[in-house]
């Protein structure tokens, strides 16, 4: 599918150049309010990510760096690192270790420049009662638990984020292909292409997609200046965002922010194609399961219990 888009539209580059010329023309005649106006014009007519050639992308990233450095008062580095060869990312979460502390959520919010007000979380930690036989359907969860201390006696915790399905229902329903699966298995969103219809949110079985209902707000001092075009760059009002396995980190061989933040080592991440990776060890030696297997979305996000009965509480 990704190749379809590229193959079909060889004529687009000329149109882009034409538009670029038009942009310059508008700016020169003073129709638009200087550079900002020209930038808005370019942004409005910007093509889908997969239709941008290397020159387009370089210009866009440079503009983005300039704009964001000015806005957040720090040097921003914008990348569009492509997927690595022979790499498909997978994730495993040890439910017997998770203590429900939500440090992963806060690390994710900071790393991914998620809006603080309105508040957006790409990770949700669900709390369940032990002994509740209905927990795997997720209906009997509580996301808004507030005890003095975690883990609380008689409770256990299931963090949920994008499951990076191999058969993602969200991708199928998007009317404009603003969301797609990359060769390394990560499902991404082009925040400049999404029209905000939210069909993907209706289709996602894991509540893993978040809409920017209002204008996102990120405090300058907490802004993460290392950004990826398909990942943690600031999103816009009226578009959908989601976990990208920290694409800005994982594509450079680093762990995701949630893996690094977990104080109990419950989160495991790696390359499913590498037979020596930790993730492969877990899949081959632990009893793993995935959420909502019955709808066959084929997630690359696995859950397991390393200690059988769970931690003492």
């Amino acid at each position: 599918m990704s190749d379809d888009i590229k193959g079909k539209d060889k004529g687009l580059i000329t149109r882009r150049k034409f538009l670029a010329g038009l942009t310059a023309g508008v700016a020169a005649t003073g129709l638009a309010a200087g550079d900002a106006g020209a930038y808005a014009f370019e942004e409005f007519f910007r093509q889908h990510y997969k239709r941008l050639d290397a020159d387009d992308l370089r210009d866009i990233l440079a503009k983005l760096e300039e704009e964001l450095s000015f806005k957040y008062g720090k040097k921003v580095r914008a990348k569009a690192t492509p997927p690595m060869d022979n790499t498909v990312f997978g994730y495993a979460l040890d439910l017997s270790r998770c203590i429900g502390c939500r440090r992963c959520i806060y690390a994710c919010v900071k790393e991914n420049n998620l809006s603080r007000d309105p508040q957006i979380h790409w990770i949700k930690v669900l709390e369940f009662q032990k002994g509740n036989n209905k927990w795997q359907g997720l209906e009997h969860s509580n996301r808004y638990y507030e005890p003095e201390q975690v883990p609380q006696k008689g409770r256990f915790y299931v963090p949920v984020q994008c499951q990076q399905c191999k058969k993602p229902p969200c991708v199928k329903v998007c009317p404009v292909q603003a969301t797609w699966q990359e060769p390394d298995g990560i499902v991404v969103v082009d925040y400049n292409w999404c029209i905000g219809c939210r069909f993907c949110m209706a289709a996602c079985p894991y509540g893993a997609r978040n809409f920017n209902w209002g204008k996102p707000n990120i405090p300058n001092e907490e802004f993460n200046p290392e950004i990826h075009y398909l990942g943690n760059r600031p999103q816009y009002k009226g578009v959908v965002g989601k976990c990208t396995f920290c694409i800005q980190r994982s594509r450079e061989g680093r762990y995701t922010a949630c893996v690094e933040a977990c104080p109990v080592g419950a989160r495991k991440f790696g390359n499913l194609m590498d037979p020596n990776s930790e993730i492969r060890y877990i899949l081959e030696n632990m009893k793993v399961f995935r959420l909502k297997e019955e709808i066959d979305t084929n997630p690359k996000f696995f859950y397991f219990f390393s200690m059988g009965t769970g931690i003492k509480s």
Binding site: H48, V176, I195, A202, W213, G214
Partner: protein
């Protein structure tokens, strides 16, 4: 000739009884209030609505869904008149098509209002943008709704321009389009139902009976509305509409409501007898779930008014009493509005995929904006119907008012 026609049409639209002018004024005012609120929504974003991540579609999509149904009304007239040659409906079939045009226009307005980044609509245009066809059912809906709009608009304009000129239609020319409008009407409901029922993430929608039920209830709500409109039209204009025509439409509504209630029964049985974890949204709607029960009074109201309407309609002698018929029609309109709107869309999201219960109800802004859309839709219908009647009764143009077309 063309100038004459335009003059005539403009004169028809701007002149009329006191009631007509008051009605137009009232609708325009509502439309303006709605538009004022739209500016607020554009400024703040959809956060100004009560929708949130847990219930990510709300009142706008509920209205959209209901109005796709209303747009079917035309076909309920087209089938008996053109296909079974039931003559008395001839006078009103165009009014039905104008209603379809108004209803689909409202659908498109509701969709645009619900888009977070509507200014990017060009991303949907094939070639320039990316039209994810046939993968995304939403693109199918874009195709069939626009096709249905253009089809009905063309048929109305063709018929009226011929009538205006005092000529008869070239039946051979339009019959293929008329026949095509029947599956086209079915397709807009089917595809709209498929938007929802194709999502295994939402057990409440994930039922094959959704599409047939859409069609059954659609063939109730649109015609019910029209039955009332036709009586107003024949009281206030020179257009003659025979009782027979109204009785025929009422009969169709009766049997469609029977099918609708039967399919509801099938759904109730399936959910309650199998009683899997997937019953939760159903329980939320009909009984309340874990202390949340705000939709319960609404859905029971819908069931009760639909059932009463069905009982009125099922007895021919009662159905033929216009007072009783009007009560039944009003009940059906309200009943299906609740059932196909909040009764279908909201519980699809409650509880959410992770088990959250967010008690969504639209806020005042959503209600005002929706009222504005309804006002614009009714303006399109009123003005369209007035022009149509003026041409058909020979007030403007060269129609022979005595002849059926």
């Amino acid at each position: 000739m063309a100038i004459d026609a335009i003059n005539g049409i403009v004169r028809t639209v701007v002149t009329g009884s006191k009631e007509y002018k008051a009605w137009i004024g009232f609708l325009s005012l509502l439309a303006l209030v709605g538009i004022a609120f739209v500016f607020r929504q554009i400024d703040q974003g959809l956060i100004a609505t009560n929708m949130r991540d847990d219930v990510s579609w709300g009142w706008y999509i509920a209205n959209f869904t209901f109005l796709v149904g209303v747009a079917a009304a035309a076909v309920v007239l087209v089938i008996p008149y053109y296909i079974y040659d039931f003559k008395p409906i001839g006078e009103i079939v165009l009014i039905g098509e104008i209603m379809a045009v108004a209803a689909v226009s409202m659908c498109l307005m509701f969709i645009v209002l619900d888009m977070g980044s509507a200014e990017r609509f060009w991303h949907l245009i094939p070639m320039i943008g990316i039209f994810n066809f046939p993968q995304s059912i939403l693109t199918w809906d874009v195709v069939v709704l626009n096709m249905y709009l253009i089809l009905n608009l063309s048929l109305v304009i063709y018929a009226l321009s011929k009538t205006y000129a005092g000529k008869s239609y070239k039946t051979k020319l339009i019959m293929p389009f008329i026949f095509f409008s029947v599956p086209a009407a079915i397709s807009i409901h089917t595809v709209t139902a498929f938007l929802y029922l194709g999502a295994p993430s939402r057990p409440f929608w994930n039922t094959a009976v959704l599409a047939p039920r859409f069609i059954a209830s659609a063939f109730c709500s649109g015609p019910a509305f029209m039955l009332i409109i036709f009586q107003i039209i024949r009281k206030t204009t020179k257009l003659k509409i025979a009782d027979e025509a109204l009785h025929k439409v009422a009969e169709i509504v009766t049997w469609c409501m029977a099918v609708n209630l039967f399919l509801l029964g099938s759904e109730v049985f399936k959910e309650m007898y199998s009683a899997t974890a997937h019953i939760e949204p159903f329980n939320y709607l009909w009984n309340g779930l874990r202390g949340h029960s705000q939709l319960v009074p609404w859905i029971w109201t819908a069931l009760i008014v639909n059932s009463i309407a069905f009982l009125i309609l099922i007895v021919p002698s009662i159905r033929k009493n216009f007072f009783m018929l009007n009560i039944a029609c009003a009940f059906i309109f309200v009943g299906v509005y609740i059932e196909k709107g909040m009764g279908l869309i909201f519980p699809g999201f409650i509880p959410g995929t992770l088990g959250d219960i967010y008690d969504y109800m639209p806020n005042a802004m959503e209600l005002w904006i929706s009222l504005g859309v309804w006002a614009i839709g009714l303006l399109i219908f009123t003005v369209g119907a007035k022009i149509c009647i003026a041409i058909k009764t020979g007030e403007i143009g060269h129609a022979d008012p005595a002849a059926h077309h």
